[in-house]
Point group: C2
Chain length 303, copies 2
């Protein structure tokens, strides 16, 4: 079972359930973060992400960058809802006799503070063997600024324009996946300026745009020739399928004035439209030669 399947699986078991105490579940599994509403109407955003040695970083990766990525991935999920990071919890399973735990938790604490979500607790356990991979899980909670609502994956409307917050591709080789800046400010701007749908691009623009289209019951069409690429990225296919970009994919009302954004948005790279009769929701990539590709097949599932 991969991550998407897991989310669908949990989701099927969670809908219609009020949370305990006086809280209400507004958004369960399947979006970038879950959303809870307290009795007095306050919204909380909640997300957890893991980092596993050998998968999300290597045994040579600098401890500071491991910590940075662990915090940044969860902060990026809060940004993708248009929220403000608020607190963090970090849990780690360390290889036996691991020598850098002090340095690692210092760095986790420092990066959590850096993005406004101080580390308020954690848990540590050790593996029974020294060759077991280092594993971190980071939970981040967030809030919404006054007067804004979380931007879900499910709100894309016909006529909406698709933007991204930076060039794509070559994230692994360039170490962008360790150095990326979670797009907190532009996410909050989008929540205030009629973004209808939003997510962060972790599994590639192809697959992630498909997820928005399906959640929104819409068709998305992306013009690959308009997708900005990083210097080391060899072609549109790499840009769209490699993943770990952590730029925001923003589906904006066509009337929004993007000149006011606190950050230069890139695009529009595509549009949303309604499904035709008998057409399934999904995303299409039109390559520079005019050939259509099923976006769902272009991406990477983290599992």
């Amino acid at each position: 079972m991969n991550e998407s399947q897991l989310h669908q699986h949990i989701y099927a078991r969670s809908v219609g359930l009020g949370a305990g105490g006086s809280n209400e579940i507004i958004v369960g599994p399947g979006d970038d973060a879950a959303v809870i509403r307290s009795a007095d109407g306050n919204l909380s955003l909640l997300t957890v992400d893991q980092l596993v040695e050998g998968r999300h970083f290597t045994s040579e990766t600098d401890v500071n960058l491991i910590a940075r990525k662990a915090i940044a991935r969860s902060v990026s999920d809060i940004a993708a809802m248009g929220g403000e990071p608020s607190w963090a919890l970090a849990a780690g399973v360390l290889p036996k006799d691991y020598q850098h735990s002090d340095e690692l938790f210092d760095a986790l604490s420092r990066w959590a503070k850096h993005w406004g979500c101080p580390l308020i607790g954690g848990d540590i356990a050790t593996h029974s063997a020294a060759d077991h991979p280092l594993t971190l899980s980071v939970t981040v909670g967030g809030t919404m600024n006054q007067g804004t609502m979380p931007v879900l994956r499910s709100g894309a409307q016909p006529g909406d324009q698709i933007y991204i917050t930076g060039p794509l591709g070559d994230s692994f080789k360039s170490n962008h996946h360790l150095n990326f800046e979670p797009r907190i400010e532009v996410g909050q701007w989008a929540a205030k300026n009629n973004a209808h749908a939003m997510m962060d691009i972790s599994d590639g623009l192809g697959r992630d745009s498909h997820r928005i289209a399906v959640a929104s019951n819409a068709r998305i069409e992306i013009d690959a020739s308009k997708v900005p690429m990083n210097v080391g990225c060899k072609d549109w296919k790499q840009a769209i399928s490699e993943g770990e970009d952590y730029e925001l994919l923003i589906v904006l009302d066509s009337k929004t004035e993007i000149a006011n954004a606190p950050f230069k948005l890139m695009g529009p790279i595509g549009t949303a439209r309604a499904c035709n009769p008998n057409e399934k929701p999904g995303s299409t990539i039109v390559d520079p030669g005019g050939v259509f590709h099923d976006a769902e097949q272009l991406g990477w599932d983290h599992d």
Copy 2:
């Protein structure tokens, strides 16, 4: 660095820091759960715990019981603050080609619902090898009932009486560590009835009572002959040092009427007093022969 050291380590870097957004950190690392206060005064409890194959369960443990323990440990932390569990997030790193992920996440979801904290999201990743241990991390959020405040480790006062919620010892062999019932109801009762300090006993009554004494800058004295033991527990030393009991250790105002508790409390098994001049805070166990033992040396550090 073990778990206590980690908590102290993070704590030193977190004090005095407001959380992001409009939240304020009331309690940071080092208690059973962190406590956040939102702008309108609502308190949230937050805790994360991990479960690692080979350490907290074996490769033969039933998937349903692995899930139960993963949720129950975090729920027990909320209970130990006197709170109400509200939502849960679960993250898992699975061995390569793990066959039970569907069953595992079904069980996590079911146990989370069972204790009133539905699973609202998660993350899944796989190890590169089939012999890497299954690892779960569960974050649980909670609230306080109207008119009650979280019961910390730091509030024990001279004259307070020490109670526990069940017999101790033999948790591993008897599988109590997989089957225990988090003491949510009695924790909430304690928060309403002048409990001055509380925690759940995970590392043994000896070490955990020492933690309360140090956090409270007090001396605690426990009479080992009054500590109820489970049937398979061979002596007071095992009862006090083995750990994984997950009963609550409650430091109650001596005026509290325990006859009103919704659950039979066991004790008093000891008392709290002020430190004498030049005496360090800590806990003493008086064994059935009248010999005094430093409680800190009797316990198990999960690391």
